[in-house]
Structures are given as C-alpha cells and as structure tokens.
C-alpha cells in the first residue's frame, strides 16, 4: 500500500482546527447553560486561559507510572479517534488516515480513553477516584451497548465497514441520511450519545458535590491540562463519528461546524433540563430504552 506523507501535516491541521473549535464551542455551550440558569457565564476565551494556567503550574506530584499514563491514554483515545475517521467527506486533504475497516478501530478508540483513565485514577489511590471509575466504567459500558448495536446496524445496512463508503451511501439530499432510512438505530445511538458525553443527567461519574470530581480527583497541573485538552477534542471526535454514521457526514468545514454544534447542543439541552441520574438508574435507562430500540433498528435492516 502506498502512503502519502502529506497526509501527516494535513491530519495535524485537522487536529489543530478541531482543538480550537472544541475550546470555543464548549465555552459557548457552557455560556448557554449559564444563561439557562440566569447567569452571565464564563468568558468565551476562558478555556484557553485555564489551559495555559494548568500547563504553567510550577509543581506537580506523582503517584506512579500509571498515574502519568492515564491522561496520556485519554488524550490518545481522543486524538486517535479523530485521526482515523474522515473529518470532511470527499476531500483528500481532510480524510486523515481513514482506511477500509476503520469503523471497528473507531469503536475501540471510543472506549480506550476510559480504560486508560481507570488505570491511572486507580493508581492515584484516592477512594473517590476508584468510586468514580467504577461508576464511569459501568455507565459507559451500558451506554456502549445500544451504540455498538446501532453501529452494527449501519454496517449491515450499507454492507461496509468503511466510513467513506458509509458517508457516500448517504449523499444526495437529507432523506438519504441514516436518520431517515433507519430512525430506530439513530434513536438508540442518540440515547447512547447522551450517556457518553458525560453531561447531566449522566454525569454522576464526575459529580463534584458528591465524590469530589471522581476519577480526576488527584489530577492537577499538566496532567489536568492534558485531560482538559482531551475534553475539547474527544467530544468533537465522537460527534464526527456520529455525523459520518447517521447524519450524512460533512462536505465542508462550515457544514461540519454547524452539524457538530447542533449535535453537541442536543446533549447540552438535555443536560440543562434534566437532573442527574444515579448509576443504577442510568444503566437501567440504557438497558430499557436504548437496547430494545437498537434491536428494533437491527431487525428493520
């Protein structure tokens, strides 16, 4: 197989654009959440300052090797997911390192960061971190179930495991999107989406009032900054996957930005309206509402 070296700077450029887009968009979504609570909200460039501040902290302590590697794994999960999925459809420049069968790899990367975080937070030795991780893993696993079934549905529907071909099959008007050709699969995947975005009602994993911020309890300075970086890349990468699978992909950057914003808004809106679920409630929610819908979608195909 021939490898085009120019793909590497292009992929890095994609990463750069997505990082900045993520930083600005999360701030604006946070502002909208604040406005819903009748506050003015943070400044739109606050995320940049927080990031610089955390990178510039002078002291850091460690709890062991895995403690170092936890945030690194998490960031790898976010960047890896982004780099192996075509960001913009039909463009050689922005298709990154997509290859036939990248759908399976993407499924791996969605889970990769959580597992790395579990190992890292476990080594920090803080009881709240262990609590948060066990909650997080059980919740994400439950949310992953409808998502995985929905992904298999899509793969079955288009008879391919390649993102480019899946997006190609959805071109030509929005009625060709999976959203309309297989609404059940999309509904199930959107339920899983809410669970994977770590926003209310599924944010008991990082509940600040109950288990002081969960897995990242012991993380600080540059470790925390790495995780913040990932927090701005990973949701966008996940949205790219969703966009490609269910919403016809994006033909250009403006289309990408609008679609990503609207998708993120779905989880933000739900988060503003609904209070937090307990872990067993959210698992039950995914199993009762997510999985049957996903199975109906699978049978539909």
């Amino acid at each position: 197989m021939e490898f085009d070296w120019i793909k590497i700077p292009y992929a890095l450029l994609t990463l750069f654009i997505v990082l900045n887009y993520g930083l600005l968009m999360t701030a604006i979504i946070q502002k909208m959440g604040a406005r819903a609570g009748r506050r003015y909200g943070i400044r739109f460039y606050q995320n940049y300052i927080d990031l610089i501040k955390n990178y510039s902290m002078r002291s850091k302590i460690t709890h062991g090797y895995m403690f170092y590697l936890g945030p690194v794994f998490r960031l790898t999960g976010g960047i890896g997911l982004l780099l192996f999925v075509p960001t913009i459809y039909g463009s050689e420049m922005w298709s990154n390192f997509s290859f036939s069968g990248d759908l399976i790899l993407a499924l791996y990367f969605v889970f990769f960061g959580t597992l790395g975080m579990a190992l890292g937070a476990g080594e920090s030795g803080h009881p709240f971190a262990a609590l948060g991780v066990s909650r997080g893993l059980s919740q994400v696993t439950a949310a992953e179930l409808p998502f995985a079934i929905a992904v298999f549905t899509v793969a079955l529907q288009y008879q391919t495991l390649n993102f480019n071909e899946i997006v190609a099959a959805q071109q030509g008007g929005f009625l060709n999107w999976t959203l309309f050709t297989n609404p059940f699969a999309v509904a199930a995947a959107m339920i899983a989406f809410l669970g994977m975005m770590m926003r209310s009602p599924f944010d008991v994993v990082v509940a600040p009032q109950e288990i002081p911020i969960g897995p990242p309890t012991e993380y600080h300075s540059a470790y925390l900054a790495l995780m913040q970086t990932n927090r701005n890349i990973f949701p966008i990468a996940k949205i790219v996957v969703y966009m490609n699978l269910f919403f016809g992909g994006a033909g250009s950057w403006p289309e990408f930005m609008i679609k990503a914003f609207l998708l993120y808004l779905v989880s933000a809106l739900v988060g503003v309206v609904f209070p937090r679920f307990r872990v067993e409630q959210s698992i039950r929610f995914f199993l009762i509402w997510g999985v049957p819908v996903a199975i109906i979608g699978l049978l539909w195909v």
Partner: protein, 223 residues
Amino acid sequence: MKDEQDRKVPLPDELLPRKIKGPDGFEFEVDPLQDYFCQEPPKEHPPIYVKIVEDFFNWARSESLWILGFGTGCGAIEMRPLMTPRFDAYRYGIQWRPTPRQANLLIISGYLSVKTLKRAIRAYEQMQSPKYVMGLGSCTINGGMYFDSYNTIKRLDEYLPVDMYIAGCMPRPEALLKGFEDLKKIIRAGDAEGANHYAENFELYKENQKKVILDWDMPDYSW
C-alpha cells in the same frame, strides 16, 4: 496555667505504631504516620522562565483563579451568592473546584477554630504551587469578635502565608469581587509568591502551627 508537657494530647490508638497479623498468619509492623506519607519538607519553586513568559503565565494564573470549595466560618455563606446569578463570579474567570489538587486559591472564610486549622493546613499543603491564600473578614486579621476565644486562632498569617485580606464583618460579595480584582493585580505584578514564602519559612510556620494544635496527629507536610 498547665505545663507545656501536660497539655500534649496523646495520639489515638489507630495512629500508634503497632504489629498486625495478616490473614495468612504473617506478622508485620505498621506505623500509620510514617508508612503512607512522605516526610520531605516542601521545595521552593522560583519563577524560572524569562520575564515576558513569566508575565504571560502570571496573567493566565490571575485570570483563572480556581477556588477550593472549603468554608471555615460564617464567611462561607458569602461565597454562595458569587456562584449564583446575582453576583456571578464566573464571568471574571473564577471557578470553584472540589479538590485541593486542582485549586489555586484557598479562602479562609471567617473565624478558624483550631480543629479546622488542621484541615486548612492539610488542604493548603496539598494544593499545587503557585497557590494563594485569602483571609476573609476581621476574624482572620486580628480575631475579630472572637478575639478572646480560647479555641480560635487570632492572626491567620502566623499559620499560613496570606496574600490578601478582605476586611469586614462579614464582607459583602461585592467586597469579595473587589478583593479578587486586587488579588489579580498582585499576581500579575509577580508578588504572589506565598507558596515559596511558606517553603522558605517552613520551620517557623510549623512551630506556630504546633503551638496551637496540641493533638498533632498528622504528617508534618501533606503532599
């Protein structure tokens, strides 16, 4: 007045060094105050970058103050309005963090009883440098209305390096906002080196702390 030696409170049983028999019959010694904690004193972290970079970092630090959500006295109630719509401190880059590891600013909000001082010291020492301390209300300056109390400390800066006092009993949320703005000016000027001051005068601070905390049952420095 009792003798210094008589006033010392003995360690509770669970903190004493002792022998423990494991489930497999293996006996081993445990010293709770030594085994789980690092006894090394804190290090100084002087500004190491060239001035323009350090100034830029100081600006970032000043515009992103993360407060440890830890209230000690009646002043804690004055911080709630800052999080809610009326005074909304988030628009000035101020946030509350639930864990000392991620916070930069410790606000001692009002009188500090000796029992709480222990926790305040541990919380302060677990924060990462550069870190700042703010004393809220007259209780932290000279004892305030508790000036003759047997169980509260009178001057906060004998125990922790304070960067900023906000006077009042209690100061209103507006006063706090003004205080934050003044603290930002101090940080931007590069004068908020409280963490280094604490490391430099570590023995002095420990001596003062141990003078009032009689049942000292924790490591000398909490990492």
